[in-house]
């Protein structure tokens, strides 16, 4: 009986561990003035889960609004920018969290994606929260170096789970987004 209760509790917690991402802000960089080309905006607008792209000249950022009940694939945003001939200088994703406890240097599944919180001390996230992706090619090489030194885990280099979490049921090829908050 105890076991059943435990299973029920675990199932409930898993469901409650929810986050839905609604938008992102992105900065692009390149050899030429990235805001002077329409290419990045057009490429981002073509990403299937993207509802709308707004250009903010002052902050040199693109605000990307996701479609509702999307399954946002952040790698697709990076690919769109790169296919347009630029690179990602910064990508921040905003979502609505309902009591998600995060631990430093631990993997966590949210909205169907794996996250690795690099810098946050143990805390509970609720309401609207913004995460900055610090995987390679999602920020400047200099900043990437800084964050990759913050963890000893191999996954920061590959963006894949590797051998780190096989015992938790993660396949070695699974994508892990490294984030700071």
């Amino acid at each position: 009986m105890k076991k059943i209760i435990a299973v029920v509790v675990v199932a409930f917690v898993t469901v409650a561990l929810q986050a839905q991402f609604s938008k992102a802000t992105l900065q692009a960089s390149g050899l030429t003035c990235s805001m002077c080309s329409k290419a990045v905006k057009v490429a981002l607008e073509k990403v299937p889960f993207v509802q709308e792209v707004k250009v903010n000249i002052k902050s040199q950022e693109y605000t990307i609004v996701f479609k509702e009940n999307n399954n946002a694939d952040f790698d697709a945003l990076k690919k769109a920018v790169e296919d347009a001939g630029f690179s990602v200088a910064s990508l921040k994703v905003t979502g609505n969290f309902s009591d998600v406890s995060v631990q430093k240097d631990k993997h966590l599944q949210l909205d169907g994606k794996n996250f690795h919180f690099i810098n946050s001390s143990d805390k509970v996230l609720s309401g609207e929260q913004t995460l900055t992706i610090v995987d390679k090619d999602f920020l400047s090489a200099k900043d990437y170096k800084k964050y990759s030194a913050a963890t000893k885990m191999e996954c920061i280099k590959t963006g894949k789970a590797g051998n780190c979490c096989v015992k938790d049921g993660m396949h070695s090829e699974e994508r892990v987004y490294h984030v700071i908050i």
């Binding site: 030429t32 805001m35 002077c36 080309s37 329409k38």
Partner: protein
């Protein structure tokens, strides 16, 4: 009958969308698909088609566009050199803020015609001319035909002189 009319209209629309097309006939500023009116520095309105008969450069830019500001330096030289020979420039800014636009015009010492067309890539004039990068410029002859796109430095000067008969 009604559906036929819609069909014809949609055909007309489909073709009209590509008025600035390298393969098509030479675009002309009197074409209603290319004409626009922008607000000048003193609040006056400037229409593109009113410039017919002049050799001029239609230049799209914005204050936040570094390469545009750099290009302005060159344009200032050409303008000062050829304005008395009949050369004109109409710059259209895609800035969002009027104050930023006016500040840049003053700073870059621009004395030619300046128009403001808020809305960035979605602004009316930028959409009509299919502008997808800044700066973008179109050199126009006395007949109103577009005879050069994104010409720079020596190429631009050579063509200006040719059009002015110098």
């Amino acid at each position: 009958m009604k559906s036929l009319r819609i069909l014809i209209l949609s055909f007309v629309f489909a073709f009209s969308a590509s008025a600035v097309n390298a393969q098509g006939p030479i675009p002309n500023i009197t074409d209603y698909r290319l004409d626009f009116t922008v607000v000048g520095m003193t609040g006056d309105s400037i229409s593109l088609s009113s410039l017919k008969g002049k050799v001029f450069l239609l230049d799209f830019w914005a204050s936040w566009c570094g390469p545009c500001r750099y290009a302005n330096k060159q344009l200032v030289k050409f303008y000062n050199k050829y304005k008395d020979k009949g050369f004109e420039i109409l710059s259209v800014s895609l800035d969002d803020e009027k104050s930023a636009w006016k500040k840049a015009v003053t700073k870059d010492k621009i004395t030619w015609m300046q128009g403001f067309d808020r809305g960035g890539w979605d602004s009316f004039a930028a959409r009509k001319w299919q502008v997808d990068a800044l700066p973008s410029s179109f050199l126009i002859n006395k007949n109103g035909d577009v005879v050069g796109i994104n010409l720079e430095k020596d190429d631009l000067e050579k063509k200006i002189k040719e059009l002015l008969g110098l």
